[in-house]
Symmetry: C2
Subunit: 336 residues, 2 copies
């Protein structure tokens, strides 16, 4: 039996995760029961939402049990199978874990994928995975953008944010992105086609509010929010009448006590709303979304950046990039 | 010319208003220009939103200029007129000020009212005014309640909140109200028909969250929010999937730096939304709303409480009741 390296959650992080919260262990791969199959994981998606799964309360998913490997979406190849419809050599994608080998079963989340349909098999973890579908349905359905409107994207250099900016341009909107540091801001305008970029670093709420006002001379009709904190509060101060905030994430709050959002009164003044979005609601429509994203990608209208780190032994450092903002594109860990 | 007592804003309040921010002065009533008419104010509506008008930034209305009387909705009688369609002796309602006499003009906000259509002329400042219409449109259109759902009302003993609870019952919902102190809580269940009342006093966020969970065994489908702070945060923790928060007010934040809302992540987990509501959007439909409210009132399904204080000289103390919560029903100041 092959040796299985597994990246376990050993302790619930208190605020920012530290290395000692995890442990990389080696175990033999388990025997398969009838109906199960073994996946050789090749790539894992590292996402901010995984931080919430490490807490005792859980969020929209149950917490990861202590001593279990860290839950993650992976793509890999069926190594061995006692399950009808899954044959060795076949590529699959599913909600598995940060480990060399995962056991899955018929009726689970694991689905076959066809690498020949995409430029790179890792695209199943980015543009054709949860990230791409979050941008597609979260922006187009939750935020209801109209041509000519101004769309403000926070966390704009991130995996979802960079796609939302490009979708905004495809739909005839003005796209303004907020990101950390000049290199990311340059990427927004030069690579993703944002009309303007705002560097949040070194800006307090008043300075951010003014910078958004300057970059959005007609106000803000849509905010696609990934960050929270003063960045959301500054965005709220620039809302137009009857504007919409799609709340995708609050990454600034995941490792700390939230500062709290203080400008909600703007929702009253502007008769605006904040709507939470979770891609789970759109799973039955992924085919529709993936087809549109593929069409735009083929037409050269969508740039997808993937930041691939190598090695399960680097899982911790790679995951922490999401919070330090040192990843350039969708964070993916190459396992094999 | 009659003497006009006017309650002026002399200084912008720093946090909680103090008496020295205002001054009661007497002036002669001005000469009318062509197209103007003079109103003898009888009753003024005192509303939390007036606090925002006292700040330099304004909100959905421009700030009250320093040295001007405090802006307020009033009802009164035309005393003298150089305006076609407004004749002495006629009752009118409009956005005027805390003063004995207001000058209005054709094309302003002032409209004739008919006291014979309502049990009491003051009802034009409560059930048939902005308060009643905020409850009607804010609850029924913004919150989209369905029979059998659970509706949580904060500031439930207040003018709007008490009506929302009754509308929730009329529409077949479970109504749970949050208010301060046992007397108000008793009023919610005994007078307004709420199914349960929660006293927020002495409860921290965790205790409030638990109290809401206990009073709402099937979770919360709609929050009608008037308060903000930990009361909103506790409500958010009890939301059901695809639930709705109608944001009517944030009275806990009007006189202090907001604490900030920390549980917005629940909007993501529950795919819920917060929508700001302002009655200004529904002015063209007031006739429709007033007719329905009158129908329910006539059928004995709506209790409206008005708290009438007497005397312009008591304007400050009466206004501050709104923040101390010492008013029992819609706060109205009798001017004459």
């Amino acid at each position: 039996m092959p040796i299985n390296r597994r990246f376990l959650l050993q302790r619930r992080p208190d605020g920012t995760p530290v290395k000692a919260d995890f442990e990389l262990v080696t175990e033999p791969t388990p025997e398969l029961a009838e109906g199960q199959f073994l996946i050789r994981n090749h790539y894992a998606s590292l996402d901010p939402a995984m931080r919430g799964w490490m807490d005792a309360e859980g969020n929209y998913m149950p917490p990861i049990p202590l001593g279990d490997p860290v839950r993650a979406s992976t793509i890999g190849v069926v190594e061995e199978s006692r399950a009808e419809g899954f044959v060795p050599g076949q590529w699959v994608m599913g909600l598995n874990a940060l480990e060399d080998y995962s056991v899955s079963a018929i009726g689970g989340f694991t689905q076959p994928i066809d690498p020949s349909l995409v430029p790179n098999v890792t695209n199943y973890l980015s543009i054709f995975g949860a990230v791409g579908m979050t941008a597609y349905f979260g922006f187009l359905e939750v935020c209801e953008p109209k041509p000519g409107e101004t769309v403000l994207v926070t966390g704009a250099a991130g995996a979802v944010g960079s796609l939302v900016g490009q979708l905004a341009k495809i739909h005839g909107c003005r796209a303004v992105g907020i990101a950390g540091g000049p290199a990311k801001c340059a990427r927004l305008t030069e690579k993703y086609g944002f009309d303007a970029a705002i560097d949040y670093r070194g800006k307090d709420e008043a300075a951010l509010t003014a910078a958004i006002a300057e970059a959005c001379p007609n106000g803000v009709d849509v905010i696609f929010e990934n960050v929270g904190g003063i960045i959301l509060d500054a965005g709220l101060m620039n809302l137009n009448l009857h504007s919409r905030v799609g709340l995708c994430g609050l990454i600034s709050e995941y490792n700390t006590e939230p500062r709290g959002i203080r400008n909600l009164w703007q929702l009253i003044v502007k008769r605006a709303h904040i709507r939470g979005l979770l891609i789970a609601d759109y799973v039955p429509r992924f085919g529709e979304g993936a087809a549109k994203m593929a069409e735009w990608a083929a037409a050269g209208k969508l740039t997808i950046d993937e930041h691939v780190d190598e090695g399960l032994e680097n899982a911790f450092d790679s995951f922490m990039r999401l919070f330090a903002g040192t990843n350039d594109g969708k964070m993916i860990l190459k396992i094999a």
